[in-house]
């Protein structure tokens, strides 16, 4: 039996989730076949083959950057070989492809998966639900092929065994170019005046800041400590701070010496962008917020009270 794994790449770069997917696939003790689609693939195939038992390469420029073409081609490859599982990252691309593939193939699907195993011929997954406060074990229905999308960062690719698998080129099974859904271009994020990735101290604010009018409080603290204000996703969604201040998977990855998280619950997308900080301090009213398991120090209280007090104390200590 085999497990198919998608090698995800974008603009000439192979994404880390590719190797994490191989790592997850190894938990199923089967042959791991990576599939690599698109054009200008550089040395992606060689890099993936290092850890996969086999790599199937379909070079076809009609597939590049087109999630619909990806879905159709993966579907055709799966119909031919009937792997037990198709596995990819629960990335933006995965969210566009995996559920469509499940319907096309009449396959059960589990997304945002954080654990995977096989029990008595059935695939069992673990998912983190209700804002990371509950875990849930689910068994996938019986089917020829199951579709799994794994959460990025959950399956370590650090200890992958070297395989140096065979690379095989496959003719593109794509019948015709996708006319209904055409990729036009990538749009880069707008760069602002402040680069949060360069700061030694980040005063990071989340939903708990409650109101745009409270932001100057964070600016004052940042000024006092010589740092910069960053934030979690909701603050950008509400348009309180620009996108270039956002820390997390859909924003920036930061590694400051000090990361002070005010009113940030610590969703995994946020944690992925800041866990590399040397010292993390969390200030949050909810002791059960996941941020406290990432932080070294914590204050369980209202940030609107702690923040101005901290600014005053820092000013005192500096004078």
């Amino acid at each position: 039996m085999t497990v198919y794994v998608l090698a995800e790449h974008r603009r000439g770069e192979l994404m880390d989730v590719t190797f994490e997917s191989i790592s997850a696939a190894r938990r199923l003790n089967d042959e791991v076949v990576a599939i690599l689609l698109g054009k200008d693939l550089g040395d992606h195939a060689e890099k993936v083959a290092k850890y996969a038992d086999k790599v199937l390469v379909v070079e076809d420029e009609r597939i590049e950057n087109n999630t619909e073409a990806y879905t159709q081609v993966i579907g055709e490859l799966i119909k031919k070989d009937k792997p037990k599982v198709f596995l990819m990252g629960n990335t933006s691309m995965g969210m566009d492809i995996a559920p469509a593939l499940a319907i096309d193939l009449d396959s059960p699907i589990a997304t945002d998966v954080v654990g995977i195993s096989e029990e008595g011929g059935r695939i069992k997954v673990m998912r983190s639900v209700y804002n990371g406060k509950v875990l849930s074990d689910l068994v996938l229905g019986e089917a020829e092929t199951s579709v799994i999308a794994i959460r990025s960062g959950e399956f370590s690719a650090a200890d992958l065994e070297e395989k140096n698998g065979e690379i095989t080129k496959v003719d593109s099974p794509l019948k015709e170019a996708i006319e209904n859904k055409k990729f036009l271009e990538f749009v880069e994020p707008v760069a602002g005046a402040v680069d949060i990735t360069q700061a030694d101290v980040l005063i990071s604010v989340g939903r708990g800041i409650k109101d745009k009018d409270n932001l100057p409080m964070a600016e004052e603290l940042a000024d006092a400590v010589g740092g910069v204000v960053s934030c979690s996703r909701p603050v950008v969604d509400y348009d309180w701070l620009p996108k270039d201040r956002q820390v997390g998977t859909s924003g920036k990855t930061v590694k400051p010496k000090f990361y002070l998280a005010f009113g940030i619950s610590g969703a995994f997308q946020h944690v992925a962008g800041m866990k590399g900080a040397t010292m993390i301090v969390a200030i949050n009213k909810d002791i059960k917020a996941p941020i406290f398991s990432v932080a070294q120090y914590g204050i369980v209280d209202d940030l609107l009270k702690v923040m101005p007090a901290l600014t005053e104390k820092i000013k005192e200590l500096k004078s």
Partner: protein, 255 residues
């Protein structure tokens, strides 16, 4: 532009104390507050924005009991034109839900169907794309921008690291909406008054001809994560804790 928006009512667990009920089948919901799924609220706003830009109707759809009607009323008060509640018990999984919604939507008139990119309870993010596939129309997931052209849209999808990708997509289509695409309006008093006169239709699975399908996933158990390591908590009043933290930051060389 006729737009259908599928919405879901979810418990707010972000700041709540969550426990799992006996048998490990579900969380205890008695003390939780419920509201429209955050992503869906952005989808409703986007549908209304598209209607206001051009013309057409916005229909909001949900599946569940009468207790779910408040999120439909809220969407009507925001500016949706009509609402449909499919009266049935909560479907067992996303596939069953997708099948139900597909059956309902296929007989409606629409140019665009919107879903939230995921829901705040189970964060599967699959239902919308499944429905698109069942309807046989194009889709895009994680959409953070829509520009309507003639019979097509320019649609922006959110990728990792702040990057976006733009697709040209032929209508009819289905998009799943990411948070931050717009600024959802507040519900006004006059909106609530107008909403009372708008149609809220209740249909049964039999009305729309729902056929039974088997769920794809079976729940084995739900449980609380094992307690892991936790930060060293700095205690005292806000002033005391702040003073201790300030000293600590100074000692570690933050300033």
């Amino acid at each position: 532009m006729d737009v259908i928006v599928c919405v879901k009512k979810v418990p707010d667990t972000a700041e709540a104390d969550v426990s799992v009920g006996a048998g490990g089948r579900e969380i205890n919901k008695e003390r939780l507050t419920f509201a429209i799924n955050e992503w869906d609220n952005y989808a409703v706003e986007e549908a209304i924005r598209l209607k206001e830009e051009d013309e057409g109707t916005v229909t909001v759809v949900t599946v569940g009991g009468k207790d779910k009607e408040d999120i439909l009323r809220r969407s009507l008060a925001m500016g949706a034109d009509k609402a449909i509640r499919l009266d049935m018990e909560d479907p067992e999984d996303s596939f069953v839900l997708a099948n139900v919604l597909y059956t309902l939507i296929k007989d409606q008139k629409f140019d665009l169907v919107l879903f939230g990119a995921q829901s705040g309870d189970f964060n599967s993010g699959v239902t919308g794309v499944m429905v698109a596939r069942m309807l046989g129309i194009s889709h895009a997931a994680m959409v953070n921008g829509i520009e309507v052209l003639d019979g097509r849209t320019k649609t922006s999808r959110e990728l990792e690291g702040g990057l976006n990708e733009i697709y040209e997509i032929k209508l009819p289509a289905l998009f799943t909406i990411q948070t931050g695409i717009n600024e959802p309006r507040y519900v006004s008093i006059s909106g609530i008054r107008k909403a009372r006169k708008k149609e809220l239709k209740v249909m049964t699975p039999a009305d729309v001809g729902v056929t039974e399908v088997k769920p794809m996933l079976s729940l084995e158990k739900m449980y609380l994560p094992p307690p892991g390591k936790i930060a060293e908590i700095i205690g005292g009043s806000p002033e005391e804790a702040a003073a201790k933290l300030a000293s600590l930051l100074k000692e570690k060389g933050a300033f």
